[in-house]
Symmetry: C2
């Protein structure tokens, strides 16, 4: 293959470096992926990488930061409906859809936190916290309105996010469930998990079992 000429779009290589790093970091882990391997994936020599990224740590940070900023922007652009219940459903479906569309970025953002420098870690945590706060605000409104009953606002927030993010650990393209069904299934569980209701597991079920 003959090398044609210098690219007209100087950002294209940088973009491909990030794409390769995203895929490799997600698959093998940040610490297990060398700059040489990223370079090979892109089709350049290792030295060329440093014309596009500051260093390996900076590359990881940029991937995580860009991802989290995309999450926040996408959520803010999502139609959310009127009440807390509608907004909670919107959040549930948004979170699942967004995560399933970007499994690699999601995986890195959750798994590689410990490989960030303290400064980078603080910046990433700030972004993540903003996202968690969006859900927590919905739950708070719902509780205030008497619609929801959660034992602890912060824990309910983290529990729901953990549950929803867990989709990425098992979902495979072309699996048993069509993607459109997954939002329905999880929304059913989220909806009930924050529902008001005092009897275990629910008044009607308890009567049916013991009465």
């Amino acid at each position: 293959m003959r090398r044609v000429r210098t690219s007209r779009r100087p950002r294209e290589t940088g973009r491909r470096i990030r794409a390769a790093a995203l895929r490799l970091f997600a698959r093998h882990g940040y610490a297990a992926v060398s700059m040489r391997r990223i370079a090979r994936e892109v089709g350049v020599q290792v030295g060329a990488l440093y014309a596009h990224v500051p260093d390996k740590q900076g590359l990881l940070f940029e991937l995580m930061r860009d991802h989290l900023e995309e999450v926040l922007a996408a959520w803010e652009a999502t139609p959310k409906g009127d009440g807390p219940l509608e907004r909670l459903e919107a959040f549930t479906r948004f979170h699942i859809d967004f995560h399933l569309a970007r499994p690699e970025a999601v995986f890195i953002a959750y798994m590689e936190l410990r490989n960030l420098t303290p400064e980078n870690f603080a910046a990433i945590e700030k972004l993540r916290r903003r996202y968690e706060d969006a859900l927590q605000a919905i739950l708070a409104e719902g509780v205030q309105a008497g619609l929801f009953d959660v034992p602890d606002l912060k824990l309910a927030t983290l529990a729901i996010i953990a549950m929803l993010t867990g989709v990425n650990t098992w979902y495979r393209e072309g699996g048993r469930l069509p993607r459109s069904r997954i939002g329905d299934i999880y929304w059913d569980m989220v909806r009930k998990a924050v529902a008001r209701g005092d009897g275990p597991p629910a008044p009607s079920a308890l009567r049916g079992y013991r009465g």
Copy 2:
């Protein structure tokens, strides 16, 4: 290959090596921790490690396998009560307690799967699957008895485990919540998430809000 043990407590060093590896792998990640660093933590030279563990990969595998076998043994030894509801509560509290007592092993078992060789990965997944099946069986019984209503058995299993395991991402010793409260809080959410009940968020709450 032969190991001649002359020490009075020949297994003590091996035990300390595993303990150090557990702590370091959990904190920095398998790929980021060198055998030299483990040795330094234990207080020996790096060559001495290989009298106790086969190699780095084998060390990781042993840590994960021992942990998962402990989980299974501990769950089987746990009193579970009579009905599905009681067993689900037992599972919920057991999972949280066990995870909070072994944060490092739990973290490794969930985060380092991709650093296992294919054979080791298969063995670990088999153990994890056995644990998931224990919960799924409880949910299946509850559905059969008309006590629970889950949209999908497998997904409910994974959703609950993801939610419960998420505790380890935020729990800190001496934090806002006493450890005894956490089981209560999550049990409330799990209980409701699998509860029968068709109205969003729950019939009683819906009436209270709109009626």
